[in-house]
């Protein structure tokens, strides 16, 4: 079934077609479950003027943070961007635009973007700066605001295992935004730790069905930890 074999052999091939001023939706929460290889490839491609939709923007020197080094990001749509000195600098200097979005709204914007729902009502942000300029409306006596969905020219996703057809499963809390991002890319690129043959994964336990996946690549991952907290044995 060659038509469904999504595997590509290089990150060049995985990110082919990415050009200046595109919108990229990225999975990951902090540095957990981030598509490390795709991000490095975007850096080496040198594309500029990017809009990135991701919960966070990495840290200085790792994750999405490396795209700040050569000023590749024009606009960041995120819920929390506090871990990154270069980010702050570019924000204050006006080189970088940021659209802060509540985390749950951001997740739902991705999910509904992929699901053909252009807008939805949520109570989150009503009466706050997030609701400013947005339509609000009462349902059953409670106030809600209208939020529009997002889709990306590309989505970049970190999975754990996938079969060649692009059926993906995620590992533990490295799932986070990844399955949502996967649905919302015009071209969705998934990098995983292991690629298996179709039929090896349980059909009822697929997190991202292959229909969402355009390109699949096996990568290696540093998996940096931001807050290493341990207890004594």
């Amino acid at each position: 079934m060659s038509g469904f074999d999504k595997v590509v052999s290089s990150y060049e091939e995985a990110m082919a077609g990415l050009t200046d001023d595109m919108t990229i939706i990225a999975g990951g929460f902090g540095l957990c479950g981030i598509p490390e290889g795709c991000i490095k490839q975007i850096k080496s491609m040198g594309v500029k003027g990017l809009t990135i939709v991701s919960n966070n923007c990495g840290v200085d020197g790792f994750g999405l943070g490396i795209l700040l080094e050569d000023r590749q990001i024009k606009k960041m749509i995120a819920s929390y961007v506090g871990e990154n000195a270069l980010f702050e600098k570019q924000l204050l200097s006006g080189e970088l635009e940021v659209e802060l979005t509540p985390q749950g709204t951001l997740a739902e914007k991705m999910r509904s973007g992929g699901a053909g729902i252009p807008a939805f009502y949520t109570a989150t942000g009503y009466g706050t700066p997030v609701g400013d300029g947005k339509e609000s409306r009462v349902f059953n006596g409670k106030h809600y605001i209208l939020e529009e969905s997002v889709v990306g020219d590309f989505a970049i996703v970190k999975g754990w295992k996938a079969d060649r057809f692009g059926n993906v499963i995620y590992r533990k809390t490295a799932q986070n935004f990844n399955p949502l991002a996967a649905t919302a890319g015009k071209i969705t690129v998934v990098e995983v730790e292991e690629i298996v043959e179709p039929g090896e994964l349980d059909p009822a336990q697929i997190h991202t069905p292959g229909i969402y996946v355009d390109r699949l690549i096996q990568g290696t991952f540093e998996k940096r930890i931001e807050q290493r907290t341990v207890r004594a044995k």
Binding site: Y80, P102, G104, R111, A123, G125, G127, T128, F177
Partner: protein
């Protein structure tokens, strides 16, 4: 005496009930996990996609793919479930979490809360806080009653940009436990040795004081 952070966590823990699903914010709220009453079970939700958060891992157990919303390495208890960020906020937004505990800069008599943005200071983002306050029916805000400069944080109207409008009903400060109803703060309990006068003085919003204000008690 004003409550310590640990005492504040202890007092909040008295609001727990057996079988509660609970989301704890960063800071004092996190400490609540240390004071679950004997014989009671609660389950912690972490908004990055974990229901049934356990202890921190031992060195051997550390796993980069297993973190909480504060980006700390954690473990999961038996019976935990792990899911996507949208599934996680469906739970939160849909009102399925029984209790949410979080910090704030200010609250006011109308249940408004400001906790994420101080104009003029760099804004890092609201993370999941706006979803948590908009989605939960049962929220306890923990914060000091007044700033270091003595300015009340319990106001007639929040001065900072809001995190949520009309969503807070319970506030625990280092001086008192208060509830918000009918556009007023209602003093319910005071910290041991703290006078009603001090609480009145440090509460800028309208405050209803009953004839008797019981002192909180803490087990040694």
């Amino acid at each position: 005496m004003a409550l310590t952070r640990e005492q504040m966590a202890q007092r909040v823990a008295k609001e727990l009930k057996d079988g509660y699903y609970v989301n704890l914010g960063i800071g004092i709220p996190t400490l609540v996990a240390n004071y679950i009453p004997e014989g009671m079970s609660v389950m912690f939700q972490s908004e990055n996609g974990l229901l049934g958060m356990g202890q921190f891992p031992t060195e051997d157990e550390v796993d980069a793919d297993m973190i909480n919303a504060g980006k700390q390495t954690v473990t999961a208890i038996p019976g935990a479930s792990i899911f996507s960020s949208s599934d996680s906020f469906d739970m939160i937004r849909g009102g399925h979490v029984d209790l949410t505990v979080l910090g704030a800069f200010e609250v006011d008599v109308n249940g408004n809360i400001a906790s994420w943005m101080i104009p003029g200071k760099l804004v890092k983002g609201m993370g999941g806080a706006m979803d948590l306050v908009a989605g939960a029916d049962n929220i306890i805000v923990t914060m000091t009653h007044a700033s270091k400069h003595g300015e009340s944080k319990l106001l007639p109207q929040c001065s900072l940009p809001l995190t949520g409008a009309g969503c807070i009903k319970k506030v625990l400060t280092d001086l008192a436990y208060l509830e918000i109803a009918d556009g007023k703060f209602h003093l319910k309990e005071r910290a041991p040795g703290v006078s009603v006068e001090e609480i009145i003085e440090k509460t800028a919003g309208e405050l209803v004081v009953p004839d008797v204000v019981p002192e909180m008690t803490f087990s040694a």
